[in-house]
């Protein structure tokens, strides 16, 4: 089985977002980077599938040169190889992103049996790249998946979490599946894994960015809560004041 996981480099935002002067990006001067949380689970699932069923895994990203850091991180977790579609740091819209990914998949030596995405990226959250890729490749797609099982007949049994339970889809491979955090508990990279990742193959190419059809103009911060917290006290001594509040709220 060949599994390809698509990931996106995003900043670790912490508690307070600060924008760059041109208001077109988050100021990342003091921030680290990661991949979107859903995608971490996609990578973990790919590694587990290959461990269990054999085959090979690859990770793909469209992003700036620095995104090689995330590709190496994913290879440190057990992914075999990486494909880097290098950008100049400008954001690509969902249609252009999907087309670049499709072009890269079509030039893969062996077409993947399973293409995994996060349900939505942590930053832009456009909810559509994977679905566009599936249509362009003529593959079935299921989104928001929290359970993947390869059945005896080779089909995929996919579970989505919905109110009150789980919905089930069964699709043949090859397929495009978007996953959500909670699918598994991702492992941490090991030191040997990190060393191996440095030597794993990484293919880079530089696709050309088309004019965006969903064109970001600028980013703005939503108005703050404007709240001024009522301080109820320090340490255990605050307990009576807390209970007074609980009583006022009708919770006792």
């Amino acid at each position: 089985m060949n599994v390809l996981v698509c990931v996106k480099r995003v900043p670790l935002t912490g508690g307070k977002i600060v924008l760059t002067d041109d208001e077109r990006a988050i100021s990342t001067r003091h921030l680290g980077f990661t991949v979107s949380p859903h995608e971490e689970c996609g990578v973990e699932e790919a590694v587990r599938m290959i461990e269990q069923h054999g085959g090979s895994s690859a990770v793909l990203t469209l992003g700036p040169p620095e995104a090689e850091e995330q590709l190496r991180d994913m290879m440190a977790l057990g992914i075999d190889r990486a494909v880097h579609l290098v950008t100049d740091g400008e954001e690509w819209d969902p249609q252009a992103t999907a087309q670049a990914i499709v072009d890269a998949i079509r030039s893969e030596p062996e077409p993947p049996d399973l293409i995994l995405f996060g349900n939505e990226s942590a930053d832009a959250g456009n909810y559509q790249v994977a679905i566009r890729v599936a249509h362009k490749l003529g593959l079935p797609t299921v989104t928001g998946v929290k359970g993947i099982e390869i059945q005896g007949d080779g089909q995929l049994r996919l579970e989505q979490e919905v109110a009150g339970g789980r919905d089930v889809y069964v699709v043949p491979t090859p397929a495009v599946v978007t996953v959500k955090e909670g699918l598994n508990l991702p492992r941490y990279p090991s030191v040997p894994g990190r060393l191996r990742a440095k030597r794993k193959p990484l293919e880079a190419s530089t696709p050309e960015r088309p004019q965006p059809k969903l064109e970001m103009v600028k980013l703005t911060l939503p108005p703050g809560s404007g709240k001024q917290a009522q301080v109820l006290g320090k340490g255990a001594d605050a307990a009576p004041a807390v209970v007074t509040v609980l009583d006022e709220l009708g919770l006792l």
Partner: protein, 287 residues
């Protein structure tokens, strides 16, 4: 004409989509999909794409539900049109201008969308629901063939109060320190009839199951009271609890960003504060 995808998986969010659509024009067509075989994302999108081709609306609006985003993305892929998910406002024009949420609502994006019809989904709770949601829904039939179809459902039995519906939620973050440390959180939650939640740091450490996680990639909650213990207030977490009517934060760091969103603040170590609150509740109840 504005076409509204009448996905009724969440009536409240559908009513919000109708209200949003009315900000763009008066002539609304609400179209739902009749599918005797159940739900199929691409099957439903095929039906909706067909209506879109025939009627040439200026905008297609979908509710901010999982299915709203999913079906509209399929329509966008089929018609090769741009789509903007989770919009909070839009103004007709060429190009259409819109504002949408990023980072689960921690950031807003102003954007232009080049393409007609414009495909938009509405961010949950961005606009008040259309109270006069009496727009008649016309049903179109989905094709019998689809590449992926909902084929089964397993019910989950949850013990106690579900996180998403709880009136009070008590959550612990990294400050709890261990899985065992949650005993004090569970004790307080039991006294208040509350659900237990946690931050992403906690689930990543394996202290609690992901089903307890409140956040952008976890459960989004809207309790009357949210008690956040040892949680710093990362954007990932705040995206999941911003629907809480009141927020009480307990944290030893006076500068923790969670206090900027809090209604009530207690400065201190949760392992001292939380048991003291539980004891005080018992005392107040005379027990």
């Amino acid at each position: 004409m504005i076409l509204v995808f009448a996905d009724r998986s969440d009536d409240e969010l559908y009513a919000q989509a109708l209200a949003f659509a009315r900000t763009l024009g008066d002539d609304l067509n609400a179209v739902g999909v009749d599918d005797p075989a159940g739900y199929s994302p691409d099957g439903w999108a095929t039906a909706l794409a067909q209506v879109t081709r025939e009627r040439a609306p200026t905008v297609v609006v979908g509710p901010g539900t999982d299915r709203g985003n999913e079906v509209l993305a399929h329509v966008a892929a089929m018609l090769d049109l741009p789509m903007a998910a989770n919009c909070v406002q839009a103004a007709a024009g060429d190009p259409l201008t819109l504002t949408r949420v990023r980072w689960g609502g921690s950031l807003l994006e102003e954007a232009r969308l080049h393409g007609t019809p414009a495909l938009l989904t509405v961010a949950p709770h961005a606009v008040a629901a259309d109270v006069a949601a009496d727009t008649e829904i016309e049903l179109v039939t989905a094709p019998t063939t689809a590449s992926a179809r909902l084929s089964g459902h397993t019910a989950t039995v949850t013990a106690g109060v579900s996180l998403a519906d709880a009136d009070v939620v008590v959550s612990g973050g990294r400050g709890v320190g261990s899985a065992e440390g949650f005993a004090v959180i569970e004790e307080l939650a039991a006294l208040l009839g509350a659900a237990v939640g946690c931050s992403r740091a906690v689930t990543s450490a394996g202290w609690r199951p992901h089903s307890d996680q409140v956040g952008q990639t976890g459960t989004k909650i809207s309790p009357s009271l949210y008690i956040a213990c040892g949680i710093s207030g990362a954007t990932q977490h705040m995206a999941g609890c911003k629907g809480a009517k009141k927020l009480m934060a307990i944290n030893p760091d006076n500068e923790a960003s969670i206090f900027a969103s809090a209604d009530y603040a207690v400065f201190g170590d949760l392992h001292e504060v939380v048991p003291a609150i539980s004891a005080e509740i018992r005392k107040a109840r005379g027990g």
